[in-house]
Subunit: 480 residues, 2 copies
């Protein structure tokens, strides 16, 4: 809550973001370097994200469970690539119950190894497959440079872990969950993500293939917003996850894992936010509507509040998430700014003149000023508001899609690619390169490969880096 | 899943419990001593518990948030009693990002200190009060003797943390949340808990007063099932949580905390379970109804499955949580035992003869054998099933209440009390004793004070231990 202006995005996007997260009351820094406190407003946004994802996980046959946060250190070493990827960022418990532990415990950075241990024990026969479990928890990866929601030592997420009888089923699951993420991002968060496959260099430590949804932020940097990993038989072999098939033969399972984290809140902030603050997609917003009563004298107050309570009830009855700003001693103007900062999609103003006309004003957050304000009848208010919320949701998606599409440029040479990246855009290029080339390009341009998008042009082309024939285009961008 | 019989409760209650938790697929042991994996069936039960509690927390004005699991070690030492209580059972992170940490981090055993730090920063004025936050997370208290759900190193819970302007508001909140727990236990879990106040010896480390709900298990041992603490100004002073009051003067806040954990699942198992397995209260059961199709020939199957699908749809449409047991190659008898073990409140059997009569059989889990089975018409099946579920819910509560009341005995001397405790019952006795006496009684009888129940007899009495006048009765019992 404050009437200070935010730093404009165009001036310093980073500063805009860091200030906004604190001022909009989404989160705060924890007392230990790298940690974050998600405040009630941010947590409610996360609860809404969780509800929408959880519904989709359950609709595709998954169930939730609770797994321990402490992983015996030796588990990590069982999958060679996995330990290489995670060893540098582990938090380790060495003392328990006032005694030095014989074997140190790692606070989970992700649970593939713990799941591997359990699945090996639980899965005996083909009848036990597929096993489709999801966990909602927090994980720890040591970070010293904190950026709230985007990079913190501890973050909250879901991690799905599944085991299957065949390679085909594993691949189907991996792709299905990526589709779930894309559907959620597009239809709930109004974020038009690009689905694709990660390069070898960018894939998960221990995966055969990693799929990703990539989003473009308003500063045109890319944000990896969710990933789905086909783990092949890597973890099944490392942890001995076997089943007896219908011919009575032992087979290794095929496993997958997939995750989406509180980082996604960062994606929402940076996809839709503007110089006045957050712009939250109606389907996920903690409050979809704020009602601001306007009055000067006690006599006005009575009539206004009568209408406000009536309108409030009508919206609640229609399952619209509404809050009435009853704070005393603050001007309406102050309240408008405050709720704009917090990104509430619709503001309803009710004053004495509105009451007389049986009307009220509706201001949409995504269209600032007079253009976004209409006066409507109080009759059928719930339907009017719902239509407006739906319109805002659709507008946010359309605007973000247009912004994204106008900032992805097809390039046919490395020089062209460098120019596009320098201009802050994404470059789409034919590419046949390897991990070493990718490293060099990152050093030279600051850009990384985001993914081989599923949506590929027809035919083949020439790799912009090696000049060799290439069968796929890749997206290059600077990224968070 | 198994057709082996459980050890009867009367033979070895402990063995019955330990086997049942594993066989009913509620939980498994984690790889590290003291840890637990909550499997999907147990976790769904926990999700249902969470939903019911969360609804009540929100209805009383609370909001959720996410706080870091790592607490700087020095935070713990700020409240003297608190650190004394928790120091012996801490897990400590000493290595992060492959480096020895300058200050070790404690994995939260509970979050009063972390909350104290944050609230001191966030609360400035009386306008910021009350602050009513709840956390759903897991906490760690070092345990070597594991008992699934009852005693594990890591367990899941909610912890509410509130700050208030006055002592009265703090006390009101503490009692209100105890009432919420009691209402939840009684009306959702069918557990008739006793509300009361803990003695000085048994209260939370750092609290002025601890209130508790105490439940009687089927072996007549007591289980503390939820607690609510009035922390007075102890943490506010230790962490400097101050606010500017309406007279512009700095005041320390009054804070509370309250928690209910996955231990409550143990309470459900041991309050209602019988020799055939779990008996889950319908309002919390993951599956309220299981439909078992019965057929021999393919021709029978077709007609039976048509009816099963229709009945299944009718129950789903009425928001009844139903599952169809479609497993092939298992006898109906095996399936009955399996779902009895897992405590599903109602089993619906549909066979060829039922189909012809447009009927089906309903067997209630709480009444074994023929007495619990009725044949009903398929018309209005959802209403018939819902009525039966309501009846089961009420019966479970009535039965548990009767069992509890018949096992609490008023005693007027220490000898009498010892006899009652030896017989495995609870003793209600006038008591004016202190912590030292309590310790002696525990050594001599194995019983602890459970609480001073809110429901007190009129007048005063004579303390059974000291012979001094006493103004309150206390409950003594052996406890988990």
């Amino acid at each position: 809550m404050s009437d200070q202006k935010l730093t404009p995005q165009s001036e310093d996007f980073n500063e805009w973001y860091n200030t906004l997260v604190l001022r909009a009351d989404l989160a705060d820094y924890g007392p230990t370097r790298g940690t974050m406190i998600i405040k009630p407003y941010g947590w409610t946004l996360w609860e809404n994200i969780k509800a929408q994802l959880d519904k989709r996980f359950k609709a595709t046959g998954h169930v939730n469970a609770g797994f321990p946060m402490f992983i015996p250190q030796n588990f990590l070493t069982k999958e060679a690539q996995h330990v290489e990827g995670f060893a540098p960022e582990l938090a380790v418990v060495t003392v328990g119950g006032a005694k030095e532990l014989e074997e140190p415990l790692v606070v989970r950075p992700t649970s593939e190894t713990m799941i591997g241990h359990a699945y090996a024990k639980w899965i005996k026969s083909y009848r036990d497959l597929p096993l489709l479990i999801n966990l909602w928890n927090s994980v720890v990866r040591w970070e010293l440079r904190t950026k709230l929601f985007l990079r913190t030592t501890e973050f909250w997420w879901q991690e799905g872990h599944t085991a299957h009888a065949t390679a085909e089923e594993g691949e189907f699951e991996t792709r299905q969950m990526l589709d779930v993420y894309e559907d959620f991002a597009r239809n709930e968060a109004a974020i038009p993500v690009i689905k694709g496959r990660k390069t070898e260099a960018e894939k998960f430590a221990g995966a055969d293939t990693t799929y990703t949804i990539e989003a473009m932020m308003k500063d045109r940097k890319a944000l990896q917003s969710g990933t789905s990993h086909n783990l092949g038989q890597n973890f099944a072999k490392a942890f001995d996850i076997q089943y007896l098939d219908q011919n009575n033969e032992q087979q290794h399972c095929w496993t997958t894992s997939w995750g989406l984290s509180t980082r996604f809140i960062g994606a929402i902030i940076m996809t839709h936010g503007d110089d006045n603050g957050l712009v939250l997609p109606p389907r996920l917003a903690p409050h979809q509507v704020v009602i601001v009563p306007i009055y000067r004298k006690d006599k006005e107050k009575e009539a206004v509040m009568e209408a406000v309570e009536r309108l409030n009830k009508a919206l609640i009855a229609a399952d619209i998430r509404v809050i009435v700003d009853r704070r005393e001693g603050l001007t309406p103007g102050f309240k408008y700014n405050d709720w704009e900062l917090r990104g509430v999609p619709v503001r309803m103003e009710v004053g004495p003149r509105d009451v007389k006309k049986n009307a009220c004003a509706l201001a949409r957050r995504d269209v600032p000023g007079r253009d976004g304000k209409v006066f409507v009848d109080q009759e059928n208010i719930a339907q009017t508001v719902q239509d407006l919320l739906d319109d805002i949701q659709a507008s946010l998606l359309a605007r973000a899609t247009e912004f994204r599409d106008s900032n992805i440029v097809d390039v046919s040479s490395y020089d062209e690619m460098k120019t596009v990246i320098e201009a802050g855009q994404w470059a789409r290029a034919w590419w046949c390169g390897n991990t070493e080339d990718e490293k060099k390009i990152k050093e030279e341009t600051g850009a990384t490969t985001r993914c081989f998008p599923f949506d590929q042009p027809e035919g083949d082309g020439t790799c912009i880096y090696t000049g060799q024939p290439a069968s796929e285009v890749v997206l290059f961008a600077k990224a968070y």
